[in-house]
């Protein structure tokens, strides 16, 4: 898994690529919590992610919960079919705001 964080249009955009699985979810968690800790709107760009398991989803959930507590916007953008199916089957599309593109999210 690789990641990068940049600021765009007043939001922090955390981009991930590869697999967010049990091995990589602790790193993803830290990146996301650091972003939320900066007190800005956070967009999680998953366009490079082909697989996410439940530990990876838990990292997203934790960051989402932290953002919600701080009154910050938190959304997922550009989610590929595989991870989107995982989120939809678990009805996490009812939990997360999901935008088709980064531009939509901004």
């Amino acid at each position: 898994m690789e990641h990068s964080v940049r600021e765009e249009g007043g939001a922090l955009v955390a981009s991930f690529s590869g697999e967010i699985d049990l091995e990589h979810s602790p790193a993803a968690r830290q990146v996301l919590l650091d972003c939320v800790g900066q007190g800005k709107k956070v967009l999680v760009d998953l366009s490079g992610v082909g697989y996410i398991d439940s530990s990876g989803v838990a990292s997203l959930v934790e960051a989402f919960q932290r953002a919600k507590k701080g009154g910050l916007e938190f959304a997922l953008v550009a989610v590929n079919d595989g991870p989107r199916r995982v989120l939809e089957l678990a009805r996490l599309d009812k939990v997360f705001t999901i935008h088709d593109t980064l531009v939509d999210g901004l």
């Binding site: 049990l22 968690r29 959930v61 089957l89 678990a90 009805r91 009812k94 939990v95």
Partner: protein, 420 residues
């Protein structure tokens, strides 16, 4: 390099005897600390130094700490940055350091003398290595004999003795790690035993509901339960905690216990999930959540009332052979307090309802042999007509030879006995 006269002065027999004694002492040692003290005292006496200390790199690698000491002013426990002093240099460069007169050596750190009140004149320091890395060093201070300076034969001797000490320390650390691993393994097995007792015991056939749980590791993040109620009704559930390992196992234990406790009073599945969700939300950490399908089977009518919190879609295999998925209408437990869980009323009408965790459909995914939901559907159709317990075992047997990436749980509610 040492000249011939200096080399000739070495007491080889004495050195070999010391090395043999030290190695034996290390091999038999129960307490590494006192063995190191004894070894250091023997080395200092044999080489003829006024004082000596034995240092180990700390876990982070930025400091060295004095773990054994001989001489008039003990400095046990003293910590120094690894980038300072002669010991630090010996460790950094993984090489013997000989300082004939500290007054002329820029690397000498005054800190140790300040701490001990000792006055250092000359130093001989050899690294202790394990697998080419320095793990610490043995330092001797102020040679007693001759002109008070250490010679190259002293350096060779100290290097040999320090190597033996290094090997002994590394062995002792490995042995300690092995003991710790063994302790953790025993605790995990105990936890697994407690977990197995949280699952319902198999009931003698004919019984309409049957389940199986296979942990990918020692402990499981999955669970199922079957609770017979009055008037031929049965509560059942299957849950899957996010992640794997001990944290998932602990949340599994909590959720399974809560279910067993709440299901006795809360018969309606949607209400049961609402109560479970609110309880889990109160203490959930690190974004962990539980996907769970819970249902109430009425063996008088063959109907199932099902509520699903983000779990894999239960699969109905109807008596006419058709297959229907029931996708979740609400997110998993532990994420949003106050979530409601819509119910589905399913008429089994002589068919069977299968619930599984994704560990079943994803087993063997690493080697491209995953059963997948299509594979499960084919298996379910192929096994039609067999007793429910046999079907469950056959499905698990199909994937048990594959690599389990996740815990695997399967449960089936069969309405065949009622109609058949």
């Amino acid at each position: 390099m040492a000249d011939a006269t200096q080399l000739g002065a070495v007491d080889f027999e004495g050195a070999l005897a010391l090395l043999a004694d030290m190695t034996q002492d290390f091999a038999e040692a129960g307490d590494l600390g006192s063995t190191l003290e004894r070894a250091l005292a023997s080395i200092a006496q044999h080489v003829g130094s006024a004082a000596g200390s034995l240092w180990l790199i700390d876990g982070e690698g930025h400091e060295i700490i004095c773990v054994a000491c001989v001489g008039p002013n003990p400095i046990n426990g003293l910590r120094l940055p690894v980038n300072e002093g002669i010991v630090g240099k010996s460790v950094r460069e993984n090489a013997v350091q000989t300082v004939l007169d500290v007054a002329n050596d820029p690397d000498f750190s005054q800190k140790m003398d300040d701490e001990s009140g000792f006055r250092t004149r000359s130093i001989l320091c050899a690294p202790m290595c394990f697998k080419d890395d320095a793990i610490g060093a043995v330092e001797l201070i102020n040679k007693r004999n001759g002109d008070g300076r250490f010679i190259s034969s002293d350096a060779h001797l100290l290097q040999a003795l320090a190597s033996a000490a290094g090997l002994a320390i590394a062995n002792a650390k490995l042995a300690a790690a092995q003991l710790e691993n063994e302790r953790v393994r025993r605790e995990l097995e105990l936890a697994a035993e407690i977990q197995r007792n949280l699952l319902p015991a198999p009931r003698p056939a004919p019984f309409p509901i049957c389940g199986v749980n296979l942990p990918a590791r020692t402990v499981s993040g999955d669970f199922f339960d079957i609770l017979p109620l009055a008037n031929a009704r049965f509560h059942f559930c299957l849950g899957d905690v996010s992640g794997k390992g001990m944290n998932a196992a602990l949340l599994m234990a909590k959720t399974a216990s809560l279910y067993r406790c709440l299901a006795r009073d809360t018969v309606i599945p949607s209400q049961l999930l609402e109560r479970l969700n609110d309880e889990i939300c109160e203490t959930a950490t690190r974004g962990m959540f539980v996907t769970m399908a819970a249902g109430l089977y009425d063996a008088n009518t063959g109907s199932v009332c099902l509520a699903n919190a983000g779990h894999e879609p239960p699969l109905l295999h109807a008596a006419d052979g058709s297959l229907t998925d029931y996708e979740a209408q609400a997110p998993p437990l532990g994420i949003l307090p106050g979530t409601t869980f819509p119910e589905e009323n399913i008429a089994l009408a002589g068919g069977s309802l299968y619930l599984c965790s994704d560990g079943l459909t994803e087993a063997g995914m690493g080697s491209g042999q995953a059963l997948g939901s299509a594979g499960l559907r084919r298996l379910v159709q192929r096994l039609a007509g067999k007793p429910v317990a046999e079907r469950i075992q056959a499905i698990v047997a199909e994937v048990s030879s594959l690599e389990l990436r996740d815990d695997l749980t399967l449960l089936a509610v069969s309405d065949e006995a009622r109609t058949g």
